[in-house]
């Protein structure tokens, strides 16, 4: 399969799946009651998935290489930005602070 074809297939299939997930409960399960266990489980999905996305990107310098020291500037930036996000919930502030700490660390500590 040619690359452009694969790319368009990805766009269409992933697009449909994403939309189906977003529409799922809103359109199809609006009338039914949800089992409590499912409701409990679903409540934790965002935290679980966001963590699984965020943490490896920050603490792993390469495949299988844990970098928890001060040499890991992304970790420093993420810790500071994380506190900012926790306290002020501002997306702009989080990104500005995070990138600033990263650049400062690269400049001062490299």
């Amino acid at each position: 399969m040619s690359k452009p074809l694969v790319i368009w297939l990805v766009i269409v299939v992933v697009g449909i799946l994403n939309y189906a997930a977003r529409l799922s409960f809103i359109a199809f399960f609006a009338r039914r009651e949800m089992p409590p266990l499912l409701a409990h489980a679903l409540r934790h999905v965002p935290a679980a998935m966001l963590t699984a996305i965020v943490v490896p990107a920050i603490v792993l310098a390469g495949p299988g290489t844990l970098a928890l020291d001060t040499g890991n500037h992304k970790l420093l930036a993420a810790l500071v930005a994380g506190v900012i996000a926790w306290r002020w919930r501002s997306p702009v502030l989080t990104i500005v602070v995070g990138m600033s700490v990263l650049w400062l660390a690269d400049y001062l500590l490299a």
């Binding site: 697009g15 977003r22 935290a47």
Partner: protein, 252 residues
């Protein structure tokens, strides 16, 4: 008084939707979404850059942002496309990343029951992390369905538009951005911005710790299976943590 017979077909088509539309709420939604919108612009730029780097044409890159409209899925897809991963792997990974939309959908569904299906379809299309986080409290606290739905669509539409513009910017200037800037770090920062505010109760902290350790431990798994494993373990840990009764609150 106008009878139904004298209304144009166009008016008849939109009448049920208009019952649940409030122009002021729509404008409020858009205006209050501006900070979050600014936050996702760098993310959108990175997605545009990543799409081109993965070999997509500019049209396909814009198509990704218009049709998929999910930064996490787009980034993962682009990384896997650049690595020539099989189509099935790409689709599975994107599906796993998108599982949290099920939760957003479930959380919103009870509030949207009396909405016209077309409104529901539109809201579903615009359902992103930011849109959900910004509006779920409103839905829970107020019964004003027209206001809440319009507020959501206002914010969601602004996010969608900004996402497209950011993607185009990324497509155009991607080649000029120096690698030393590490602009791709805005992606974890965006998600961190969504995650950190959630870490306020014990169960969520348990979910975080479990998922974090699992995600790192299983990182070597193929096909990004680490995501689904870490996610499932985190969810299970959360459900278990919910069952442990809370400590008695201290009497002040």
């Amino acid at each position: 008084m106008q009878t139904k017979g004298s209304l144009s077909r166009r008016a008849l088509f939109f009448m049920p939707m208009r019952a649940h539309f409030s122009r002021t709420a729509f404008a409020d939604g858009a205006r209050e979404m501006v900070p979050a919108t600014i936050g996702i612009v760098p993310f959108g730029i990175v997605c545009g850059v990543a799409a081109i780097a993965a070999g997509a044409s500019p049209v396909a890159a814009v198509g990704m942002s218009m049709i998929i409209f999910s930064g996490a899925a787009q980034i993962i897809a682009c990384q896997l496309l650049a690595a020539d991963a099989p189509l099935a792997v790409i689709v599975l990974s994107c599906f796993v990343i998108g599982l949290r939309f099920l939760m957003y959908s479930a959380a919103l569904a009870p509030h949207l029951r009396s909405l016209d299906p077309r409104w529901r379809n539109l809201i579903a299309f615009l359902l992103t992390d930011q849109a959900f986080a910004s509006t779920i409290q409103r839905f829970r606290e107020s019964d004003d369905l027209a206001g809440n739905a319009s507020y959501f669509v206002g914010g969601g539409a602004l996010l969608w538009l900004a996402w497209q513009v950011a993607t185009v910017v990324g497509i155009l200037i991607g080649a000029i951005i120096p690698a030393a800037w590490q602009l791709e770090f805005v992606v974890p920062l965006c998600f961190l911005g969504l995650l950190a505010p959630l870490l306020r109760d014990r169960s969520t902290l348990v979910v975080f710790a479990t998922s974090a350790i699992a995600a790192v431990a299983f990182d070597a798994m193929p096909m990004r299976l680490s995501l689904i494993c870490a996610g499932l373990l985190g969810i299970a840990a959360g459900v278990l943590a919910d069952r442990v009764p809370p400590k008695r609150t201290r009497v002040r």
